[in-house]
C-alpha cells in the first residue's frame, strides 16, 4: 500500500462492491425458483438495504418509503414489479414492521409519480 492509502481514513472494509454482490446474490437466487420480477425485486431491495444501512426494525418505515421513492419509476412502469412491491409491503405489515400510514404514503408516492408522467 502507498503511504497515502495507509494514512487515509477510508477503510477497505467499508467498501461495497455492488456489482460483485449482485452477481453472487443472483446466482444464489437462481436456484430458488422465483420468477424474474421477484428476483429483480429481491435484488433491488437487498442493494438498497446494504447501501443505505437499514439495520433495525425502527428503520423500516423510513426505509420502505425511501425505497419506493428511489425506484418509483420501475414500480410504476412494470406491473409485475408493482405486484411484488405490494405483496412485500403486506408481508412487512404482517411482521409488524410497517405501519398502515407508511403504506398509504408509499402508495401516494407512486400515485404522484404516475400523475407527473
Amino acid at each position: 500500500m502507498d503511504l497515502e492509502e495507509v494514512v487515509k481514513d477510508e477503510d477497505s472494509e467499508d467498501e461495497i462492491n455492488e456489482g460483485a454482490r449482485v452477481i453472487e446474490d443472483r446466482r444464489r437466487l437462481e436456484l430458488l425458483g422465483l420468477s424474474e420480477d421477484e428476483k429483480q425485486f429481491v435484488t433491488m431491495w437487498n442493494s438498497f438495504v446494504k447501501k443505505h444501512r437499514v439495520l433495525v426494525d425502527g428503520h423500516m418505515n423510513w426505509a420502505y418509503e425511501a425505497f419506493t421513492k428511489y425506484h418509483c419509476a420501475e414500480f410504476v412502469h412494470s406491473t409485475l414489479l408493482n405486484w411484488s412491491w405490494r405483496v412485500f409491503m403486506i408481508n412487512l405489515y404482517d411482521y409488524g414492521l410497517l405501519k398502515p400510514t407508511t403504506m398509504v404514503t408509499c402508495y401516494a408516492i407512486l400515485k404522484q409519480y404516475r400523475e407527473q408522467k
Binding site: 472494509e13 443505505h52 439495520l55 426494525d57 425502527g58 408493482n82 408481508n91 404482517d94 403504506m103
Partner: protein, 901 residues
C-alpha cells in the same frame, strides 16, 4: 384361467423385451445418423476457419531455404558468447595452463526474512453460515507438514468413514424413452420393472421415480397448451394469475425474507426460517383531518364538497369532541387492550377512522346501520337516473338521524370506544345519483341540521337512549323489509381480491377509500369496495344479507363476540400483574432460576444460540426462550414488551411495578409517551433480570429526520456511556438521546481502522492506525459459522499448522475465520495482551467483538488472549507463571479459541 393369464402376461412381457430391443436399436440408429450429421456440419464450420491458415502455410512453404530453417538458438551453439569450464582446485598445481576458471567474486546476499505465507481469504462483514458443501466432514484433506515439507493426507482413527454412497443413476434421454414406452404400454408393475431394469441401469425405485417425473413433465406440457381464460384481464393489470392466492404470493417472499436481517436470502440465518408474527400488529390508523377529497371519480365521496360545507357549519362542537378523542388515540399507539380495565367493552377491533371525519361508533351498531344503508343503496343504484322516491329520502333522513343519535350515545359513554364507521359515507352513498345531486344534498343538509339539534338535546343522558334507539331501529327494519335485493357484482370477486380486501380491513378498518387506493388499486374501485363492504363482505362473522328483523340478533351476537375476545386478554392482564407483584426484579433476582444459576456459576458455559420463540400470548413452559435460558427479543411472537435495561433497573430500585412498556415501532415521541405511562402491561417469564446483553433496545431506533440515517443512529434509551447493555455497569436509568449502548457499535460497524503487516511475533499481525482508549471497540471478528463437530475436524488440521482461527461462539456454533473473515483474524495471541475478545448478543445474534484493554497507541500490534484452557494451549501460547484472570463477562461465556477434542 390363471395359466392362460400368466401365459398371456408372459407373452405380453416377452413382446416387451422385443420391443425394448427394437427401441434400443432404433435409438442407436438415430444416434449414428445424428453423429454423422454433426461431423459433417462441424467440418464445414472448421473449413472457414482453417482455410485461411492452410493457404498461408502452403504459400510460405516454398520460400523457405535451408539456412533459415535453423532456429536462432541452435545456430549459436558452436559459437557461444562465453564458455565457462569448471575445474577442481585440488589439481590446480599441475595444470596451470588449463585453468580456465574465472575467479568469481562472490557477493554476500543480505539475509532477508521471509514474508509470511499469503493465504487467500474472503472478506465478510457479517458472520455467515457454512454452506453444506463446504464441510470437511467425510473428505480427505491434504495438509503440508512443515518438517517434512511434503503433502500428507490427514487421516485419523477417530474419523468415521462415510459410506460410499451409491452413485445415483443418471438417466439418459434414450433410457427415458424406453421407460416411457414400456410403462405407458404395459403399466407399472413389477415384471415390467424387472425387464426394464435389465436394459436400463439403476435400482427399481429410481426407475419408478424417474417415470413419475417424466409423467409430470408431460402433463405439465399439456397444461401449458391450454391457457386459462379468465385470467387475462386481471393478469394484465397486476401481472399475476388471479387464481394464485395472496398467501401463495406472500409465501415466496416469506421464505426468503429474513426478519432479523431485513434482507432476502440471508446468509447468516438461512432461508425458510420459521415464521413468527407478532401477536399484536399495528392496526391503528388514525387520520384526524381525514382526506375530504374523493379518492377518485369512482369514489362514493363524490358529492363531498357540497356536503362538507354544510357539515362544517353544523357540527362545530362535535368536531372538538371528536378531535380530542382522536388525539388520545393518537397518543396511545398501543392497541386498546392495554388500557385500564375499567374501560368497558373495549373493542379489540382496530381503531378506524373514515376518510371523511372521525367518528367513533361501536362496530356492531355500525354494521347494522350499514346494512340498512345497503338496502338503500341497492335501491338507488338500480334506478340510476330517476330521482329517488320520496320514501327513501325520508328514510335517509331518518337513518341519518338515528345514526347520529348512535354516535352521540357512544361518544358520550366511552371516549375510548374505538371502532369507527363511515357515517357520513353512508349518507352520501344514499345520494349516489348523478342528476339529482343537489336535490339530495339540500335534503341532507336539512337533515344534518335537524340532527344536530337532536344531538344537542340528547347529549344530556345516554343510558336511556339505548332502548329508544333500538326501538327506532326496529321501526326502520320493518319498513325496510322486503327491500332486500341481490347485490350486483358480489360474485365476481376473485379470491385474491377478497384476501386483499380482508387485509385492507385489517389495516385500515372499514375504509373503502383507503383500501381502494392502496391495496386494491387497479383491481376494484372504491365504489365496488364500498358495496362489497356493505354487503357484508367476508369480514363480518355473520356475513350475508339477512332479513332485517334478525339484525338485532346479530348485534347482540357481535357484542358477545367482542366481549368474548377481549375478556381473556383482560384476565391475562390481571394475571400478569399478579406475577409482577411477586417478583421484584433486581440484580439478584431469584425469579428465574435457570439463568441465575448460570451467572452464579461463573463458569465458561457457553450460552445458547437464540432463536425466536413463537409464543403468542405469554411465554410459558413450551417457550424455547425460557427453556434455553435466552431472553426473548423483538423477533419473538409475544411482543407486548420490550426490555429496556436501564428502565427495568429503575423500577427495581424504586420497588414499583412500573416497568415495562408496550412495544412500539420506533417513533420517538411515542416512546416517550409510553414511558410516562406508569402502568405495567405485560411481563415475560423468560427474561431474566438486568444485565442481560439482549436488553439492547434496538427496536427503538428511529432515524433522525434527515435524508439518510447514517451516522445519526442512536440508541435512544441509554444515557451514560456504558460498555454495553447488560454489562453490569448501567448506572442511572437512561434518557434518550445521549450515550450509546455498547452493542450498538457492533451493529453500526463503528470500528477502528486496522492495518495488516508482518507481525512482530509470528506471521501476519493486525495493527492499529489510530490510538484508542481503554474499552474502545476495535472491530468484530467475523467468520463462518460452523458446528462444533465441523470445528473439531477442521481444528485438527489447523493445529498441525500451528494456527488457529476457530472461536467458540455458543453451544451451537463456532466461528471459523480461516476461509472467510476479516482483518482481525490476524491478531495474534499473547498472554499479556492489549485487547480482549467478548461474545456479545446483538439483536439476537452472537457476535465477537474485540475491545481494547488499555490505551493503545497508533501503529501498535493488537494481541488478545486466546484463552486456551491450561492444558490445552499449544506451546507458543503457554503463559509464563502468574497469569491474571480477566474480568468475567456476564453470562456470555468467555470468548475463547476453540479446542478440538
Amino acid at each position: 384361467m390363471r395359466k392362460q393369464l400368466g401365459e398371456a402376461a408372459n407373452d405380453a412381457l416377452g413382446t416387451l423385451s422385443l420391443k425394448i430391443n427394437q427401441l434400443k436399436k432404433q435409438i442407436q440408429a438415430e444416434r449414428i445418423v445424428y453423429i454423422k450429421e454433426k461431423i459433417q456440419s462441424n467440418e464445414k464450420k472448421l473449413q472457414c476457419h482453417t482455410s485461411g491458415v492452410l493457404s498461408a502455410i502452403t504459400t510460405r512453404g516454398f520460400s523457405q531455404t535451408e539456412g533459415n530453417r535453423k532456429t536462432p538458438i541452435l545456430s549459436r551453439i558452436d559459437c557461444p558468447l562465453c564458455k565457462f569450464n569448471g575445474f577442481s582446485p585440488v589439481s590446480g598445481d599441475k595444470d596451470h595452463n588449463n585453468q580456465d576458471v574465472l575467479s568469481a567474486t562472490s557477493i554476500k546476499i543480505p539475509y532477508i526474512e521471509r514474508l509470511p505465507p499469503y493465504t487467500s481469504w474472503i472478506f465478510l462483514d457479517r458472520n455467515q453460515r457454512m454452506a453444506d458443501d463446504q464441510s470437511v466432514v467425510g473428505r480427505r484433506r491434504i495438509y503440508y507438514d512443515q518438517h517434512g515439507s511434503e503433502a500428507l493426507i490427514c487421516s485419523d482413527s477417530e474419523e468415521e468413514l462415510t459410506e460410499h454412497e451409491e452413485e445415483k443413476h443418471e438417466f439418459s434421454e434414450a433410457e427415458d424413452r424406453v421407460l416411457w414406452m414400456a410403462f405407458e404400454e404395459y403399466g407399472l408393475n413389477e415384471e415390467v420393472l424387472n425387464i426394464v431394469s435389465e436394459f436400463v441401469g439403476g435400482t427399481s425405485s429410481e426407475i419408478q421415480e424417474r417415470y413419475k417425473s417424466i409423467k409430470e413433465k408431460n402433463i405439465g406440457r399439456l397444461d401449458q397448451d391450454q391457457p386459462s381464460e379468465n385470467s387475462g384481464d386481471l393478469e394484465s393489470i397486476i401481472g399475476i394469475s388471479p387464481e394464485k392466492t395472496l398467501s401463495a404470493a406472500l409465501d415466496s417472499f416469506d421464505n426468503l425474507f429474513c426478519r432479523r436481517c431485513l434482507i432476502f436470502d440471508c446468509r447468516l440465518h438461512g432461508c425458510s426460517q420459521p415464521l413468527v408474527y407478532p401477536s399484536e400488529k399495528q392496526t391503528i390508523w388514525s387520520d384526524p383531518e381525514g382526506d375530504k377529497k374523493p379518492c377518485s371519480d369512482q369514489c362514493y365521496l363524490q358529492l363531498n364538497e357540497v356536503k362538507g360545507v354544510s357539515e362544517d357549519a353544523t357540527s362545530g362542537s362535535d368536531q372538538n369532541k371528536r378531535t380530542t378523542t382522536m388525539e388520545e388515540t393518537d397518543g396511545i399507539l398501543a392497541p386498546s387492550t392495554i388500557e385500564e380495565p375499567g374501560n368497558q367493552s373495549t373493542s379489540p377491533f382496530p381503531t378506524e377512522v373514515d376518510c371523511h371525519r372521525s367518528l367513533n361508533l361501536n362496530v356492531p351498531i355500525s354494521v347494522s346501520v350499514e346494512k340498512r344503508k345497503v338496502i338503500n343503496v341497492s335501491d338507488t343504484a338500480l334506478c340510476d337516473s330517476t330521482p329517488p322516491p320520496d320514501g327513501s329520502q325520508n328514510s335517509n333522513k331518518k337513518l341519518k338521524t338515528i345514526s347520529d343519535d348512535v354516535i352521540t350515545v357512544n361518544s358520550d359513554s366511552s371516549n375510548n370506544l374505538l371502532g369507527a364507521c363511515d357515517e357520513s359515507k353512508h349518507t352520501i352513498t344514499c345520494a349516489i345519483l348523478d342528476k339529482s345531486v343537489k336535490h339530495n344534498s339540500n335534503k341532507l343538509i336539512d337533515s344534518s341540521s335537524t340532527c344536530d339539534t337532536d344531538e344537542q338535546d340528547k347529549n344530556i343522558g345516554d343510558g336511556p337512549k339505548d332502548p329508544t334507539n333500538k326501538t327506532e331501529f326496529k321501526k326502520l327494519s320493518s319498513s325496510m323489509e322486503g327491500k332486500v335485493d341481490g347485490m350486483p357484482g358480489l360474485s365476481d370477486w376473485k379470491p385474491l381480491e377478497k384476501e386483499l380486501y380482508l387485509k385492507g380491513v385489517e389495516m385500515f378498518g372499514r375504509n373503502s377509500c383507503l383500501i381502494a387506493r392502496n391495496l386494491l388499486s387497479g383491481l376494484k374501485t372504491c365504489m365496488e369496495i364500498a358495496t362489497y363492504m356493505h354487503a357484508g363482505g367476508l369480514s363480518m362473522p355473520h356475513g350475508s344479507i339477512i332479513a332485517p328483523s334478525s339484525i338485532m340478533d346479530d348485534k347482540g351476537k357481535f357484542d358477545a363476540e367482542y366481549t368474548d375476545q377481549e375478556m381473556p386478554s383482560r384476565s391475562r392482564l390481571l394475571r400478569k400483574r399478579g406475577k409482577t407483584r411477586k417478583f421484584k426484579y433486581s440484580w439478584k433476582s431469584t425469579g428465574h432460576p435457570s439463568i441465575w444459576k448460570r451467572i452464579a456459576d461463573g463458569k465458561n458455559q457457553s450460552c445458547k444460540q437464540y432463536t425466536p420463540c413463537g409464543c403468542q400470548s405469554m411465554c410459558g413452559k413450551e417457550c424455547t426462550c425460557v427453556n434455553g435460558g435466552t431472553c426473548c427479543e423483538k423477533y419473538c411472537g409475544n411482543l407486548g414488551v420490550i426490555w429496556i435495561g436501564g428502565f427495568v433497573q429503575k423500577a427495581a430500585k424504586i420497588d414499583s411495578e412500573d416497568a415495562i412498556v408496550p412495544r412500539v415501532s420506533a417513533e420517538v415521541d411515542n416512546v416517550l409517551v409510553l414511558l410516562q405511562d406508569g402502568n405495567v402491561t405485560q411481563m415475560f417469564v423468560g427474561i431474566a433480570g438486568l444485565g442481560h446483553p439482549s436488553l439492547c433496545p434496538l427496536s427503538h431506533l428511529s432515524p433522525v429526520p434527515t435524508t439518510t440515517p447514517t451516522g445519526a443512529w442512536q440508541c435512544l434509551m441509554t444515557d451514560n456511556p456504558v460498555l454495553s447493555c447488560g454489562d453490569g455497569s448501567l448506572g442511572e436509568p437512561p434518557r434518550r438521546g445521549e450515550g450509546q449502548c455498547g452493542n450498538m457499535r457492533l451493529l453500526l460497524r463503528q470500528q477502528q481502522r486496522i492495518l495488516l503487516a508482518k507481525s512482530d511475533v509470528a506471521g501476519w499481525g493486525a495493527f492499529l492506525k489510530n490510538p484508542v482508549n481503554k474499552n474502545d471497540y476495535l472491530g468484530e471478528y467475523t467468520g463462518e459459522l460452523i458446528s462444533h463437530r465441523e470445528a473439531d475436524k477442521r481444528g485438527k488440521i489447523y493445529d498441525r499448522a500451528n494456527s488457529s482461527f476457530l472461536f467458540d461462539l455458543n453451544d451451537q456454533y463456532v466461528l471459523d475465520a480461516y476461509r472467510k473473515g476479516d482483518k482481525l483474524k490476524f491478531a495474534n495471541h499473547s498472554s499479556n495482551p492489549n485487547c480482549y475478545a467478548k461474545v456479545m448478543l446483538v439483536a439476537g445474534d452472537h457476535r465477537v467483538g474485540i475491545f481494547a484493554k488499555e490505551h493503545i497507541d497508533a501503529s501498535e500490534e493488537l494481541f488478545y488472549d486466546y484463552r486456551y484452557g491450561p492444558d490445552q494451549a499449544p506451546p507458543w501460547a503457554r503463559k509464563p507463571e502468574g497469569s491474571k484472570s480477566d474480568e468475567s463477562t456476564v453470562c456470555q461465556g468467555r470468548a475463547k479459541k476453540h479446542q478440538s477434542h
